[in-house]
């Protein structure tokens, strides 16, 4: 009995991965064949990118501040408070900037994408779109993926900047560190591989957020309750995948650049 359950669950997971791969490939392959809905991409860039700026700024700033508070306590034991800036900027640029931005944008946008598309499915709007001769993968999915990938890249830069600024605020105004020392340490410690690592990750995270949100939204069944279920699945799956992808990309980057 238990084996049968495991078997059917495994089949379900494989089928889901297969469906996701096919639908996402079909959506992305439309990027190279007209018509391409540029207006929809701009609208989504505004919704996903501009709309998420405030939370990304707040999360980045306070995370940087917390990093400075926590690191200061440890570093002072070794008389190394001078490298607080280095600690904060490296942590933000390599890991926390991309990951926190990804998770925050996932919570905000994977959910909204899944619920919007899910509502369209249960009210037959997706069928109506197909009946009107318009491909929902081209019209709805591709613009969201492109917008999310592009905007997450810039949002990560915003988070990194405000994280470093948050660390500076704590170090300078609360702990009395010299500002030149903080910013010099923060700036000089960053090398090409850190920046590359920090800016490659959001490209993958953006793809995960939008494609997972669209996938769960478009396979919604079961009315309004189903929309809620799809929203939860989209947020949980995209958040977990972001962490898993972060681990894999970090491994690859470390292997490539840190010998």
């Amino acid at each position: 009995m238990a084996l049968t359950e495991i078997d059917s669950k495994a089949r379900e997971i494989i089928l889901t991965i297969q469906e996701y791969s096919i639908s996402t490939w079909r959506a992305v392959s439309n990027l190279f064949r007209p018509p391409i809905y540029w207006n929809d991409m701009l609208i989504q860039a505004d919704v996903i990118g501009v709309g998420s700026t405030t939370i990304v700024i707040l999360v980045g700033f306070f995370t940087g501040g917390v990093l400075a508070i926590q690191s200061m306590a440890t570093l002072s034991a070794f008389g190394a408070t001078a490298i607080t800036g280095r600690f904060v900027s490296l942590s933000m640029v390599r890991e926390l900037g991309p990951v926190l931005t990804g998770v925050m944008v996932s919570g905000r946008n994977a959910s909204s994408i899944a619920s919007e598309l899910g509502s369209m499915v249960v009210t037959e709007q997706i069928d109506a779109m197909r009946a009107l001769g318009v491909d929902p993968l081209r019209k709805l999915v591709l613009p969201r993926i492109v917008a999310c990938v592009v905007m997450l890249f810039f949002l990560t830069i915003v988070a990194d900047s405000f994280g470093t600024a948050g660390g500076a605020a704590v170090s300078i105004f609360m702990n009395g560190q010299n500002s030149t020392q903080y910013f010099s340490s923060a700036y000089e410690s960053l090398v090409f591989s850190d920046i590359l690592q920090g800016l490659v990750k959001p490209l993958f995270f953006g793809f995960i957020i939008a494609s997972i949100g669209c996938f769960y939204g478009l396979r919604t069944t079961g009315g309004t309750q189903g929309v809620g279920r799809s929203t939860i699945q989209a947020v949980v799956t995209s958040s977990v995948l972001i962490i898993v992808a972060d681990f894999l990309i970090s491994q690859i980057m470390v292997a490539l650049f840190i010998k």
Binding site: Q125, R130, L132, G133
Partner: protein, 282 residues
């Protein structure tokens, strides 16, 4: 889809359609199932070039599924559907889109895009085809005038009643002058007066523009109104046919338990000895 610039300019007289006179829809032993027992079993029928076929049957018998099979929104498990002479089962999703553009569909609840205004809903297909704005505006107004809702052009679907939403859905379906119309319970859940308005629009589309159509309903009254009335262009409204006459281009398809129980004219339907048909009609 006809290539006219206007929805109405070449349709104001009952002229022959530019589409081929061959049957636009043919079902060949179509069966489909989802998770449980088959929804449709070996369904075969043909929709003639200028025919309106009313699909009757109890709720849950697969009438809406039949419509979605017609334009390839669903694919059959067995058998195949020919739409405008092409076997839909052999086409990919991308290849189906041009065929669907030749087909107008009115969904059960209208299925209007709730984040778009009525103007943008009706013009949806025209926007996608990058037609100039002035042309779109003119055609949208004409389509809305056809359903007598021109004044709602700037409204959003949420501010319209159920009946008005169905009428907007009809305007959206006819704006590209489709070669086939699919109506999925256009009067379901509406009051008798509003239902009559919708049926009058269907009769108008049938008699003025001769667009072949499949109309799903479980309301016998609507079905009988369709067969016993014609649209009078001079009077500008629907009038009853002389007593004993029925529209020759309107026929019936009755489904029960996933199978075709009856396919024919009203007179034959009324004379049917099938116990289910008799019970349904009583």
């Amino acid at each position: 889809m006809k290539q006219s610039n206007s929805i109405l300019d070449d349709r104001t007289t009952p002229v022959a359609k530019s589409a081929s006179d061959s049957a636009p829809v043919v079902f060949h032993n179509v069966s489909i199932r989802f998770y449980g027992p088959p929804v449709l079993k070996d369904v075969s029928f043909t929709l003639g070039a200028h025919e309106t076929k009313i699909v009757l049957g109890p709720a849950g018998v697969g009438k809406s599924v039949l419509l979605k099979l017609t334009n390839g929104l669903l694919k059959p498990r067995r058998g195949h559907v020919d739409l405008f002479g092409q076997n839909l089962s052999e086409l990919t999703e991308d290849q189906l889109f041009p065929l669907r553009k030749r087909t107008g569909m009115v969904f059960q609840e209208g299925a209007l895009f709730d984040s778009l205004s009525i103007r943008d809903n009706v013009a949806y297909q025209l926007h996608v085809e990058n037609i100039p704005d002035e042309e779109i505006e003119r055609r949208v107004r004409e389509a809305l005038r056809f359903v007598e809702l021109e004044h709602t052009i700037d409204f959003f679907p949420g501010s319209l009643s159920g009946g008005m939403r169905r009428r907007v859905a009809i305007a959206r379906a006819i704006i590209t002058q489709p070669d086939l119309l699919l109506y999925d319970s256009p009067t379901g859940g509406l009051d008798p007066v509003t239902s009559n308005t919708i049926i009058e629009l269907v009769v108008k589309e049938r008699d003025v523009y001769h667009t072949p159509a499949l109309l799903v309903t479980h309301r016998l009254q609507d079905a009988f109104t369709l067969t016993s009335h014609r649209y009078d262009q001079e009077l500008g409204h629907m009038v009853p046919l002389p007593k004993g006459e029925t529209d020759p281009n309107t026929s019936f398809l009755m489904l029960n338990e996933g199978r075709v129980l009856f396919d024919g004219a009203l007179d034959d339907l009324l004379r049917s000895e099938d116990p289910f048909v008799r019970e349904f009609l009583s």
